[in-house]
């Protein structure tokens, strides 16, 4: 994963462009897209509480790694969908999916020694998909580039709506 800020910038850029096409996609829904971009990185809890520590405490084999697989991410998105009010499920769920999906795609570009990264279809299949190996998660470049794109889109958006009264659609 590039750092989380880069993922949030990517989700923001996608949602902002879609908002020009779909009027209902206001800033409030863009926020849901940004939350969706966070879901795959729940796996970072392992930095605070390593799998081995949990394993010793529970005395069963344990790995946070499932959170970073396709199946684990789908479960996390579903939790978000359940937490939304009934009439927000469709739109909110769509945005959560866009956020989490863009994160998965970006993660699939990471540099690994084997050239293979995410288990998209686990637990159905173990296969780790091939990666383009573009960057390491610790490099600042992806954040700077995606940040530049996000800020440009925000400015373009403000310019487009300068003369119309869309104050809610910041």
């Amino acid at each position: 994963m590039p750092d989380l800020l880069a993922h949030v910038f990517i989700a923001y850029s996608l949602c902002r462009v879609l908002s020009w096409r779909y009027g209902w996609l206001t800033s409030q829904y863009i926020t849901v897209g940004l939350v969706g971009a966070f879901i795959p990185d729940l796996v970072k809890v392992m930095l605070v509480l390593p799998s081995s520590v949990v394993e010793q405490a529970l005395r069963v084999p344990f790995s946070w790694g499932s959170l970073a697989t396709g199946g684990g991410r789908l479960l996390s998105v579903l939790i978000g969908v359940v937490l939304l009010a009934d009439r927000e499920r469709l739109r909110g769920g769509l945005l959560l999916g866009i956020g989490a999906g863009s994160h998965l795609v970006a993660d699939s570009l990471l540099l690994t020694p084997t050239g293979h990264t995410v288990q998209w279809f686990w637990p159905l299949a173990q296969y780790r998909v091939p990666s383009l190996g573009l960057y390491l998660s610790t490099q600042p470049e992806p954040m700077l580039i995606t940040g530049g794109v996000a800020v440009s889109l925000l400015l373009l958006h403000r310019h487009r709506y300068k003369n119309s009264d869309v104050s809610a659609n910041r």
Binding site: G72, T114, Q126
Partner: protein, 176 residues
């Protein structure tokens, strides 16, 4: 509605239980070279002879540079790495893909250094991202206390309105 709230809590508990099942399942995943699930630090340290001649993937801290020796992550085991032109310093974190040619010997096919300074940078910047998204969520969305469902606020919350206690009037978003 109490039933809606109960159903919501029940569903969340059910989905969390799903996660609870996946954690041990992922930990006990078998090695499967065809799917690129390769023997790693734990497998090699526990039974190196079982994986002799196989493709492996490891990560760890460089403890010696000549010969290149790596202390594996989370396990008390070190291996020598040959076949790479990488010239890391002692203390560098490296990741290696290669073949296990001896119980403590890997012939690398690919290896690179993970910059350590970058890791702190990634944590800090990710924390900022969290604060940004959390503040947007609080400003734009609210929880309906009767159903426990998230719904958009009629007007985004500002610090001024929050201090005046106006956010309570927002519930419902629009008239039912």
């Amino acid at each position: 509605m109490v039933t809606a709230a109960k159903a919501r809590v029940g569903m969340v508990v059910l989905l969390l239980a799903g996660h609870g099942l996946l954690f041990p399942l992922h930990a006990t995943q078998p090695v499967n070279p065809d799917a690129w699930v390769l023997p790693g630090d734990e497998e090699i340290s526990e039974s190196p002879d079982q994986y002799l001649g196989e493709r492996v993937e490891i990560g760890g801290i460089v403890s010696e540079t000549s010969p290149l020796t790596v202390q594996l992550t989370h396990v008390d085991y070190h291996v020598r790495v040959t076949g790479t032109e990488l010239e890391p310093a002692v203390g560098d974190k490296i990741r290696v893909y290669g073949t296990l040619t001896g119980s403590r010997m890997i012939t690398a096919e690919n290896a690179f250094v993970v910059p350590q300074r970058g890791r702190w940078y990634a944590w800090g910047i990710s924390f900022l991202a969290g604060l940004w998204v959390l503040s947007r969520l609080v400003r734009h969305w609210t929880i309906d206390r009767s159903t426990l469902g998230f719904q958009p606020r009629a007007k985004p919350l500002t610090l001024k309105r929050a201090l005046r206690g106006e956010e309570r009037i927002d519930r419902g978003g629009e008239d039912a």
